[in-house]
Amino acid sequence: MTSPAYPIVSKDNDGSSIWSFLKNELRPKGKWFTPFNIISIPIMLLGLGLIVIRFINGIGSVTNLTQETPWGIWIGFDVVTGVAFAGGAYVLTFMVYILKMNKYHSIVRITVLNGFLAYVFYAGALLLDLGRPWNVINPIIGNSFGTSSVLFLVAWHFMLYMLAELIEFSPAIAEWLGARRAHKILSGMTIAAVIFGITLSTLHQSGLGALYLMAKDKIHPLWYSEFIPVLFLVSSIFAGLSMVIFEGTISHKVFSDQISKKNHHAEKGILHGLSKICAGAMFAYFFLQLLVFIHGKHWNLLNTPMGYWYLLEMIGFVLIPMLMFFYSYRTNNIFMIRLAAILTMLGIILNRLNVTVIGFKWDAATHYIPTWMEIVVTLAVIFTEIWIFRWVINRMPVLRDSPKWAAEENH
């Protein structure tokens, strides 16, 4: 079912009209003066200005970074937290393409798109944070491979995973362009990309935690352990799925015209399934955290301000949303699933920031607090991502069903 505004099928295999089609598609669609646009456009412009200043006067001109805290929210939030939220793509592709849980098929595309754009923009945010970005090709072209570096692994995995996600998503682009041959080839590559992508995700989700293994004396002992990589990996499962729940909730409202009746009805079942998986993953995570805590023998630290902060994270934003997920799939409470997803996401933000920013050099005389400019640039990055996301959804068959020819081909 394609809406009449998108005459995809009509210009099949017609090479001459493809440019006018693309030109037409590049134009904005819909109303300009929406609340989202009114808020996001000034912030994006301001962010762009700040980025220009950053490249002229150096990173110190817009950030509060110091010699003691060299990584701020551009890394701790944009990259480390953002990638955890993008974890939904590898979890869902695992469920749908490897375990063949076809119930979730209708949300795979939007999740992969979300993940792909997240990686593109977080890698972009990473470039902003690089002091000498023109040397970013060095670890790629092989004149200086730092193979003992966890960051080397993470950087390569980011690049390869973006490629894998692009391949996973590419059939949607082919359907949009009406490219039938390309669609057939690209669809055939999906399973390989999925297997490759899951492997890469396993390694770089944990790798983001492993980045901090050498900062042993700098991170508060309640958040540092040799198990950071495992904890980051396990938490990326429910971080990603909570994002899927959250994003799905919004998409179903904002893009409701794109979603077929069948998929609208399937939403409840999907949410129930996801909440069950979240609850299970969170139980495993909570148990792991408990083991790490007992293993670390940090009982005395609990009765300190950082200890209360730790308890707030573990109980308020892991244990409680976990129980909410359990309870809500038993009682069919969709509202509570959504609430639990939001709490879980807050918990992930809290956890990643506790490792990377708040607990990092917690005992230093002066603390890093981001400038308003760092926050504006972060918001600008997120808003730009949402703009592209919206642009793609309004044009390509992401939420709406594939054109008939593509659906037939798969059988």
Binding site: Q67, K100, N135, P139, T199, D217
Partner: protein, 269 residues
């Protein structure tokens, strides 16, 4: 890591090269700052203007690669100098994804601007917080002591060692310096605390210290471990090839095993 590499190097000439280092003896340092001035001159940095005073903690920064401080300790006022420790297994070099931070076979840990992309992961990883970043430059560099590597490969001493009037800092191979430190401790009983700082800390460092006062009274971080820092991420890095081989195999296996399941479901659709 680099140490093991150079020890196993194939050519006999390279086998003879040992890690160099510097021995700092706090009982001989008078806080004259000659080393600081020589360092600034050698690396085109502004000459330090502030004086060494008890109660004022001076830190290395992007314009100053070494500092001398004066501490009021249980043994009276003691001077101590801080700069890059030139670890045997440097965390910064293990962290660097472009090998811009590099442990040379001669011992100094150097920074190479043509490779560095300015990610500052070396700063996150260094247990001594040594690398400093020029935050207010469009073409920022990492500033840290490089033990005057360009002079060392020419057979000269680091400029600070040459400038020191009291021989508080001595240059040599690390092995010689440890032996010299032990000799001084044995010949002057009661003068030094019973520790050579840098012999074991962080897996051993190129700079080694003798002091009359306990090192935790001299601003040295007592939390640092005695084993190498890169070893902390070794377990993770070693698991990567295994995951890369085993996980895709497992996934492919599950995929094949669930294939039937899918065709049934499709029929039901």
């Amino acid at each position: 890591m680099a140490g093991i590499q150079s020890a196993n190097a194939s050519t006999p000439d390279e086998n003879k090269i040992e890690f160099r280092g510097v021995l700092y003896d706090s009982t001989r340092c008078v806080g004259c700052q000659e080393c600081e001035r020589a360092c600034a001159k050698a690396h085109d940095l502004p000459e330090p203007q502030d004086e060494v005073k008890v109660g004022i903690l001076r830190k290395t920064n992007e314009t100053q690669r070494c500092v001398v401080n004066n501490y009021n300790t249980s043994k009276g006022e003691v001077f101590v100098r801080n700069q890059c420790m030139h670890c045997n297994e440097p965390a910064c070099a293990a962290a660097c994804l472009t090998q811009a931070m590099y442990k040379t076979k001669e011992g100094p840990v150097i920074w190479r601007g043509d490779k560095c992309m300015g990610c500052r992961y070396c700063m996150v990883s260094c247990p001594f917080d040594v690398p400093k970043f020029e935050y207010h430059s469009a073409n920022p560099k990492i500033q840290k002591c490089d033990m005057c590597y360009d002079r060392i490969i020419k057979g000269e001493k680091p400029s600070c060692v040459e400038a020191c009037p009291g021989e508080a800092i001595v240059f040599g191979t690390r092995r010689e310096l440890i032996a010299e430190a032990r000799k001084r401790m044995a010949e002057n009983p009661g003068t030094y605390v019973d520790q050579i700082y840098g012999e074991n800390v962080a897996g051993g460092t190129g700079y080694v210290y003798l002091s009359s006062a306990p090192f935790n009274e001299l601003g040295f971080n007592p939390k640092l471990q005695n084993s190498s820092y890169p070893a902390l991420s070794k377990g993770f890095l070693y698991s990567v090839p295994a995951v890369f081989v085993l996980l895709p195999t497992l996934l492919l296996g599950i995929h094949e095993a669930t294939k039937n399941n899918q065709s049934k479901n499709e029929e039901n659709d």
